[in-house]
Symmetry: C2
Subunit: 406 residues, 2 copies
Amino acid sequence: MKLNTNYANIGKNYLFAEIARRVEAYKAKNPGAKIVRLGIGDVSGPLAPAVIEAMHKAVDDEATKERFHGYGPEQGYAFLREKIAASDYVSRGIDMSADEIFVSDGAKSDCANFQELLSPEAKIAVADPVYPVYVDSNVMAGRGGAETGGRHDGIVYLECNRANGFTPGPDQAKGCDAVYLCFPNNPTGAVATRERLQEWVDWANATGALLLFDAAYESFVRTPGVPKSIYECEGARGCAVEFRSFSKTAGFTGTRCGFTVVPEGIAARAPDGTELSLRKMWSRRQTTMFNGASYISQRGAEAVYSPEGAAQCKAATDFYLENARLIKEALVSRGLPVCGGDDSPYLWVETGASGWDMFDRLLEEAQVVVTPGEGFGRAGAGFIRISSFNSRENTLEAIDRLGRTL
Amino acid sequence: MKLNTNYANIGKNYLFAEIARRVEAYKAKNPGAKIVRLGIGDVSGPLAPAVIEAMHKAVDDEATKERFHGYGPEQGYAFLREKIAASDYVSRGIDMSADEIFVSDGAKSDCANFQELLSPEAKIAVADPVYPVYVDSNVMAGRGGAETGGRHDGIVYLECNRANGFTPGPDQAKGCDAVYLCFPNNPTGAVATRERLQEWVDWANATGALLLFDAAYESFVRTPGVPKSIYECEGARGCAVEFRSFSKTAGFTGTRCGFTVVPEGIAARAPDGTELSLRKMWSRRQTTMFNGASYISQRGAEAVYSPEGAAQCKAATDFYLENARLIKEALVSRGLPVCGGDDSPYLWVETGASGWDMFDRLLEEAQVVVTPGEGFGRAGAGFIRISSFNSRENTLEAIDRLGRTL
């Protein structure tokens, strides 16, 4: 059987599956332990009342002959795409049409699938540390090559460290065809200034590279002037794709809905001279390989844009940000260097110890689950990621326990 | 920008997107026309009451802190996978474990994505006529090559015609690494005998090829002895993957849920000697590139296996099968050769005329939308596919109008 041998180049387990495995093993041995999970970036719910109401209505639609919705447009219903274009972009002064929005079952799928539009020979760059999906999807597709010391030969890694404020610049991406950027960042919680993003956009337009901008955490931005979208930069419509999610904005981690923006302006010429529109390619990919997000989830997502829905979702992100502030305060007061936690639900904490060792120690001594920094890349060694997605009670409990262990 | 130039090798539009475009254009010119759609294979709803009830409950779960479900297992919840393994397989005498079931947002995604596990050099075979997703996803991935006369150089086409009862045998698939089979078939409505499927399984086990078996329409099988699953054949657990969908079984075309079966038994050796388990590869693919189907949809799918849910869904497929019987009776009485419509919601009708011409003629003269046979491949020329997914009233109206035109 002729299989895709690139699978031999990736780690055995997806990072969060490995964390789940270790936690399950610990629970099996310690059935009474009260574990607090600050590991995976999953919201603690519940969904906003406006979303619940909209989804009940949508379920009722599916119970009637008249309002039944079967196959929808693969790109997503116009009712949702128009709200997204108007509320997330046009109302904020950004030129955007509903035809440039592609609704999906979540940003993870889109972030993972988008590389299919690139040539197998395309050179890609990712940050280090990085959300593993960008790397693994490219490795599976053959752009990674063998792994040496936690890095794949074929991929360019943009070192993120305290010196560059965890926001690398294009000087590290020479010769790359596509660059994944994520701000507010997962895992570091860092945000990029508009000036830094503009450097990337200018570089991409000058070199013909593509920016793949993951804005899944934009709804946590509170500091005035911090960009929520790559399209706040001049010229971004000519070189940047943006991934967005309702998972963190509105707690849709189990409901599954996100979207990708592919502006009409990205014109590209393949090496053989063929002119290909990136928007049309993504449209062809999605219409052929995907059948649209659940109608019920799309109606739920629509409600995120109602005045009530928006206020309820903002209250939830405010709540997580307050958790983040409390955790940050406690860790900083202990002298630990912490990045993130201001415009982001994540804190990137320098503990100095090896990530999986620290993971196991915190699990065993404090019954707190964090994410080991090296799970996000070599430059993550010595760090842990702490997520603020939890109840206040659990957060305070975790702060107390972490304080005794760290 | 280094793009995937294989996109230049596929037709501009996905078949059903092209049909939608032509229907919209006709409607714009003829705003009063009452169009009956027997084109796309979409159910006419509504969902079964048991499914509706389960989804309302699931939405309510998402409204509470205690029962909120965020990220679920990428492979699907055990509550659903266990029901699937028990009801669709074990109760029918087929060995199957819940760990071999992978729940997704639908069979289209899985059918399209599964080729990622194959080497770019793998030789694939498809039937002609064929559901376009198998072909297009492979062409985009580089296994198709250029198109000449409606066929891609790199793909092997298994001719389906009246002589072989529209069920080709492995004699046509020499040298192929993977073969897509679909029974009951889309588009021809043909079913395969157990003997025919056993020939395929024996051939695959003898040659080391992989069978990708699409059983999306199994719930329409009524004739005793006609296989509903490839695993009814001896040895299939060693060579076959099976795709299933709740779309046609339970009207989930807008709810989005399906599943893929990858048995533990498919052991494979890559060309470089690396041993790769296909089940583990698919697990790695799904955990990395997908985040699970909507919790609400999975709860809805679970209800399909309750006694009430099963009875309600069976009544719906019975209803469509009666539509199919009525259409078939009318066409046969007019002397048209018809395949399918017995254990399948589709009828494959030989009209002799070119597919798109016949499509346009039926749209303009009868305001009936069908699917042009050549949209499914060169061997589909001279045929149209008629779908029985509709109300009785519309079906009778379409029979009347088709009778006057054909």
